[in-house]
């Protein structure tokens, strides 16, 4: 039983780590620009296809991950910015509809170009380590470590690097940041690139675990939205922490609750989180 719990917890960490990357990007985009991007999961999908393409062309797995981050991050980020920029002062519903439309377009394009079938992606590391009587894939642990490094890097960036500090400043008070000379437009562009780059990296890292197909980002998109809302909209660290917790809760819940019913545990966990957060908020208001 102990081994099963340990393995389930590790599985939860793998799911939570990749979810944390997607949710952190989603949270960043909302925090800085107030944009809820329904297409975030589709950039996860594009990242997964980048790895599949890299392997199909003999370029290697890790080059695929790097290409996913750079190409999808920059091209996707700037493309999304160009699409949403004219809507920046319009009703939020228009932005939501635009990203929803983009999501459908990207899924259809992927289906037309690559086909609707799931494409397996081989993990770059075959080794396994024993955990009791289980042989656990080393690659899964690499995913957790990579996500942890990327998220820690993101934290350091936001806390100490010039553009990271500016990004937080713009998120809190765009007008005041502008008055201090902060190049707000460049900060916006960087936010789009980082946000979609994180989703693409998550997709590329998770490709060997989930296979690649046009709607692979749908589930993670839904979970990422749950995480971002429970972690606090615009809260980078909160999103990362809740994602990890959610992954572990779901995996451990699956031990005792079979099938899709485990989602009840997940949603129960989210409801408790929201109640706790709302009580903390009331205390803050009282102070």
């Amino acid at each position: 039983m102990g081994e099963s719990v340990a393995v389930a917890a590790l599985n939860g960490l793998v799911v939570g780590a990749s979810l944390a990357l997607v949710a952190a990007g989603l949270s960043l985009l909302f925090g800085v620009l107030g944009i809820l991007n329904f297409a975030q999961g589709d950039f996860f999908m594009l990242g997964a296809y980048a790895v599949w393409l890299a392997l199909a062309n003999g370029l290697g797995f890790w080059l695929g991950v790097a290409a996913a981050a750079v190409v999808v991050g920059i091209a996707g980020g700037l493309g999304l910015m160009a699409m949403l920029w004219p809507l920046r002062d319009r009703a939020h519903a228009l932005v939501l509809l635009a990203t929803l439309a983009l999501s459908l377009i990207l899924q259809q394009l992927a289906s037309n170009v690559f086909g609707a079938d799931a494409k397996p992606v081989a993990a770059p590391i075959d080794a396994r380590i024993p955990i009791g009587s289980h042989d656990y894939p080393v690659y899964d642990l690499v995913v957790v470590a990579a996500a942890a490094i990327i998220l820690a890097g993101g934290f350091v960036f936001l806390k100490y690097v010039r553009y990271g500090i500016w990004l937080r400043a713009v998120a809190q008070n765009q007008r005041m940041a502008s008055v201090l000379g902060v190049p707000v437009f460049r900060v916006y562009a960087l936010t789009f690139v980082i946000s979609l780059g994180l989703a693409a990296v998550a997709g590329s890292l998770l490709a060997p675990l989930v296979s690649v197909y046009p709607t692979v980002g749908l589930d993670i998109n839904l979970n990422a939205f749950i995480v971002v809302i429970a972690g606090g909209l615009g809260n980078f660290r909160g999103a990362a922490a809740i994602a990890l917790a959610l992954g572990v809760v779901e995996a451990l819940g699956a031990i005792v609750i079979p099938g899709q019913a485990v989602q009840l545990v997940v949603f129960g966990f989210v409801i408790v989180l929201l109640i706790v957060r709302s009580q903390r908020q009331r205390v803050l208001v009282r102070l």
Binding site: I165, W166, Q172, N173, R175, M176, A177, L180, G181, V182
Partner: protein, 235 residues
């Protein structure tokens, strides 16, 4: 340094500023006084391109001011608004560094030292979140952050509003020091004590127009100044 000629400002169809002209020279403190709602803050916001649609000439150091607020800030203009000027979830030090990061690395430390020298309480609270400071300390932080960047012109909106006299004195002395160091200061404020310390001239504003320009020496008491802008003409 700063010259406004025939400046009109509009919020939608509301014609707030109606053709004002004024100037601020380097090393000069200038006050802008008048009732609430006459357009003083809108004047400062117009110079900084923060919202109102403008017509007329806004020139800085002989060249017309164009572009967004950040471009104007980079030309050497600082602006300290009256409210919501502090990044609430960033520490005091991060608040000051946000502007300082535009300059070379060696300037970052100098900016922090300048801010802490002007208002020692900020140095004591450097790791505290901006939003948890008292109202007076937040005013000090936003002014220190603006002055630490050594702008050639700084515009300050209601720096003494809601402050205890001792803090008004601190803020007045910080602005006076900037004037003495050659910075042009344009300040909107109702505190006679602060205006007397910082400014040599005041413009009186009423319903979107400048109704008078006076040397501060003309006023020996706060009452005389208030009478002047209540009437909208020299008292």
């Amino acid at each position: 340094m700063l010259e406004l000629e025939g400046l009109h400002s509009f919020y939608g169809r509301s014609h707030i500023i109606q053709g004002i002209s004024m100037r601020v020279a380097p090393g000069e403190g200038v006050g802008l006084v008048g009732h609430n709602g006459v357009g003083k803050t809108t004047t400062l916001r117009s110079v900084m391109a923060l919202g109102p649609r403008t017509r007329g000439r806004i020139a800085f150091e002989g060249r017309e001011l164009r572009g967004a607020a950040h471009a104007r800030a980079r030309r050497g203009i600082g602006f300290v608004p009256d409210a919501e000027a502090v990044f609430a979830d960033m520490t005091v030090e991060e608040n000051i560094r946000t502007g300082a990061l535009l300059g070379p690395r060696r300037e970052h430390r100098r900016c922090l030292d300048t801010a802490y020298e002007l208002f020692p309480v900020l140095g004591e609270r450097r790791a505290q979140l901006g939003g948890t400071l008292s109202g007076g300390q937040q005013k000090m932080l936003s002014l220190a952050r603006g002055l630490a960047l050594r702008p050639r012109l700084i515009m300050v909106d209601e720096p003494s509003e809601g402050l205890m006299p001792i803090n008004v004195d601190l803020i007045a002395r910080a602005l006076k020091r900037a004037v003495d160091e050659g910075t042009g200061v344009l300040v909107v404020d109702a505190s006679f004590q602060l205006l007397k310390t910082v400014c040599s001239r005041v413009y009186v504003m009423k319903q979107g127009v400048i109704t008078g320009e006076h040397d501060l020496d003309e006023f020996t008491t706060a009452d005389r100044l208030v009478q002047t802008y209540l009437k909208g003409e020299a008292g």
